[in-house]
Amino acid sequence: MTPLLAVENLRVAYLDRAGARTAVGGVSFAIEPGEIVALVGESGSGKSSVGLAIMGLLPDHARVAPGGAVRFEGRDLLATPEPQLRDIRGRRIGMVFQEPAAALNPVMRVGDQVAEVAIVHGERSTAAARARAVEMLNRVGLPDAERRYRAWPHELSGGMRQRVMLAIALLLRPALVIADEPTSALDVTVQAQVLRLLLELQRESGTAVLLITHDLGVVAETCSRALVMRGGQVVESAAVDDLFHAPQHAYTRELLAAMPRLERGP
């Protein structure tokens, strides 16, 4: 089976006054359809840059080195021109951001932001787009979705906002969702709800998920496979069970040791 997404030797550098700083130094991995893969690492490890590079949304001062490839559904996204990339974004690949408060447009009603995905990707009837948005808001468990369609982002709680973001990312049933720290900005109790919802939706729609996170607790609960990144390199790639029980790389052991635990040592 060909993987859904194959990242091959991806290298990303950021230009600054001192020259080019490497953020991602030759990363390769693959995701099968419907699989949930974690990309774990501390801040600055380059994990977010990988997500942005797949989407073609790196900032202007970032450069992707030639020689790498991001193969998705049979084409290399790094070599795909912007108009075709726009067609893929939102329709075949959805994205969930860390801060739902910042990622929603503050001056647009939340329902319209969900409906916009459908409209941008060819839905001509505004009424049909709205109906789909309401249905999706129901599915992500937004209470009273019909009425909340007209709410502004600041009127919703953090958890509800992230539900809206999930609705946006999953409306068109993309083959892949990139979730960049989707629960890090939320309260612990809400984190669990949102994660459970992400898993539910993932199971329903068969979407593959690339979960970018620094939280190994989240990884243990959700993912089948994990890639550990450090300093722009993938230092370990393993099934989650193996990773937790028999970490191969010293850095992974350090990360695991850094997890807070309830039980005390002898």
Partner: protein
């Protein structure tokens, strides 16, 4: 040009200003209904020449025996129309140019902003005078276009700065991540956030264009007689400042009231926008 009204007047000043401006705009729109006489037709050149305000001519008559109230009403119409049209040109060209530069690649943005720098480096009055000298006698429409086309660079600079700032924000990145194409991105996700700054600058533009039109017309290079405008009315008045005081006073009051109102409203909008932004961040 900035006027500060503080304390207790802070709440009422914007309302009074809005009412004043509404009245002035009403006179401009309804000039044919408000004006008792034809603004350019002379009355009896012997009996009606340079008469002080009276029941028949509430604001008096001028040297050509024309009714000043009628000329002021039509002059208000011309001046307000000129300012409004100039502001629309500034709005359209400035937002389009600034918006495009804000979303463009760094190289294109740099070129577009150097054009703005060059335009801003040239003194506006000199350009307007040169254009007017080149065109000759100009209509209110032409003057509005000239004022608008010399006024858009500052607007484009403000819009571009705001667009850059907003384009780097998370929600615009999120919109791009769901495949929103650039034109829609600008209109739906970027410009609404820039709207308060744009509105304030439109008000500033109006406040700058009104005295500019008046000054140009006063010096005889703006709107040409016999078409009345606030500036050309003042030009008529300059001949008889003492024994024809009503010629000077009423157009001056109209200009002063308009500018005062526009500035108070501009200040109010700016203050409200500032409060709104910090409020949203909290």
């Amino acid at each position: 040009m900035s006027l500060r009204l503080r304390g207790a007047s802070g709440r009422w000043a914007p309302r009074i200003a809005a009412a004043t401006l509404a009245a002035i705009v009403f006179v401009a729109v309804a000039a044919p209904l408000v004006a008792p006489y034809d603004p350019v037709a002379s009355g009896d050149l012997v009996a009606d020449r340079l008469q002080p305000p009276s029941a028949r001519h509430p604001l008096g008559t001028d040297l050509s025996a024309r009714d000043v109230a009628s000329r002021l009403a039509y002059g208000t119409r011309i001046s307000i129309e000129t300012a409004a049209l100039a502001a629309v040109v500034v709005l359209v060209v400035g937002v389009a140019w600034g918006g495009a530069a804000g979303l463009a690649t760094p190289a294109v943005d740099a070129v577009m902003m150097r054009v703005v720098d060059a335009a801003l480096a040239m003194p506006r009055l000199v350009i307007v005078l040169a254009l007017v000298a080149f065109i000759g006698r100009i209509s209110p429409l032409t003057l509005a276009l000239v004022l608008g086309l010399t006024g858009w660079p500052s607007m484009s600079r403000i819009v571009r700065a705001r667009v850059r700032e907003l384009a780097a924000s998370d929600h615009v990145a999120a919109a791009r991540a769901l495949g929103v194409p650039p034109p829609r991105l600008l209109v739906r996700h970027v410009l609404p956030g820039a709207a308060p700054a744009i509105v304030v600058h439109v008000v500033v533009t109006v406040a700058a264009v009104i005295p500019l039109e008046a000054a140009l017309s006063y010096f005889g290079v703006g709107i040409a007689p016999p078409t009345p405008s606030w500036g050309s009315l003042l030009q008529d008045a300059a001949a008889r400042p003492i024994d024809g005081w009503w010629l000077m006073v009423f157009p001056s009051l109209a200009i002063a009231a308009t500018l005062l109102s526009v500035n108070v409203i501009g200040e109010y909008l700016q203050r409200r926008d500032g409060a709104g932004r910090t409020g949203r961040a909290a």
